[in-house]
């Protein structure tokens, strides 16, 4: 009888420990996931009130654009704050991004059309730069410069755009574009290639037209 009781207590102890460990692990992961969800400004699908398909939008819309200062290919520093009072289109692209090659000529056309209204486009390259290796980083910069020239980008091309990943929603896909109004607020955002008309309407929204 005494032996049975000892066995029973031992079995219960071991199983309780296992159950507690499993439950604690589950709770910990649940809390970590909730914390990440709160911290990560991912995109979400917003239902179209007109009944159309849901639109991919960014929770950054309606918020002040995160300030940044990045270098151009020739080492000049450019800040978002330099464009205070202007509407700014911040376009993240990369040399390896096929859809960016389709979108860029549209951005150029529209920038030329609305530049006199107070709009500027900043092209932020998300290409990796191997800052630990001087020769390699020089070659990587050359490749960005070659692509920018090939695409005839007339607007500032900034490097190391990937360093803004956290403050601009993760940059999980390219192209990713933010439309910032004259007060520095993001009024529209876009992930991936869309129609040129849509780019134009978002630019006009940034201009307040």
């Amino acid at each position: 009888m005494k032996r049975n009781t000892i066995v029973l207590v031992a079995v219960l102890f071991v199983l309780s420990t296992l159950a507690w460990a499993g439950w604690a692990n589950f709770e910990y992961r649940k809390q970590a996931a909730e914390a990440r969800m709160t911290a990560s400004p991912e995109v979400e699908l917003i239902p179209d009130p007109a009944g159309g398909p849901p639109q991919l939008t960014s929770p950054l819309v309606g918020k002040a654009a995160a300030p940044f200062t990045l270098e151009t290919l020739d080492g000049k520093k450019i800040s978002l704050a330099d464009y205070k009072g202007k509407a700014v289109v911040v376009n993240f692209w990369a040399t390896w991004c096929g859809p960016c090659r389709i979108e860029t000529p549209w951005l150029i056309d529209l920038r030329n059309k609305y530049q006199s209204h107070g709009l500027e486009v900043l092209a932020l390259s998300a290409d990796d730069l191997d800052y630990g290796d001087k020769a390699k980083v020089a070659q990587e910069k050359q490749e960005i410069a070659r692509s920018a020239a090939q695409l005839h980008m007339p607007y500032p091309v900034l490097i190391n755009g990937a360093s803004l990943s956290e403050s601009y929603g993760g940059l999980d896909s390219l192209p990713t574009t933010f439309f910032i109004d004259r007060k520095g607020v993001i009024v529209a955002a876009q992930i991936g290639l869309s129609a040129k008309d849509e780019l134009e309407s978002k630019m006009k929204k940034a201009l307040g037209e």
Binding site: L15, N25, W96, G98, D172, G192, L193
Partner: protein, 168 residues
């Protein structure tokens, strides 16, 4: 005896609780951003191969690209795009001697102006020539690729691949 039966029942119940809790811990919720760029490409086969020891032999690696995605072929039509390529991991027991990549399919992107891409979609096979000593060894290689949909691209990714090689 009665105590033992109660203990057995409790044990069964607690084991179920434990199994459920462990299962919950390995299934990431959809909002749990464990990896923003899960692998777009996976190795379908083989897990293990048997080849002649100390003699070069060809093996076929069958990969799958997720539906709705494409990756650049080994020779993309645009120089700036990142080619799909295999490389040997430094810790591999088995030497990778040669690699034959399949020809990609042409895909048109956009229309004004159109960009012609050369890509892999669905399943594709890379043939590699390897050499192993006798016995059981591991071929450790890396596949670098860059995946896109028709409207957006994900950053380049490198995935590790391990295949058991038995040299006879």
């Amino acid at each position: 005896m009665k105590h033992l039966m109660i203990a057995t029942n409790l044990a069964a119940l607690l084991l179920v609780v434990e199994v459920i809790a462990q299962a919950q811990s390995i299934i990431p919720g959809w909002s749990e951003k464990k990896d923003a760029h899960p692998a777009a490409v996976s190795l379908l086969a083989p897990e293990n191969v048997t080849i002649k020891a100390a003699a070069p032999d060809w093996i076929e690696l069958r990969f799958h690209v997720q539906d709705g995605l494409h990756i650049n072929s080994h020779i993309p039509s645009i120089k700036e795009l990142i080619p799909t390529a295999l490389s040997t991991d430094d810790s591999s027991d088995v030497s990778l001697l040669d690699t034959n990549y399949p020809t990609g399919s042409d895909m048109m992107l956009g229309s004004n102006p159109p960009e012609k891409l050369n890509v892999y979609t669905g399943d594709f096979v890379i043939r590699t020539r390897i050499k192993s000593q006798a016995g059981a060894h591991l071929l450790k290689i890396k596949l670098r690729y860059q995946a896109c949909t028709m409207t957006a691209c994900m950053p380049p990714k490198t995935i590790p691949i391990t295949i058991g090689v038995h040299g006879n």
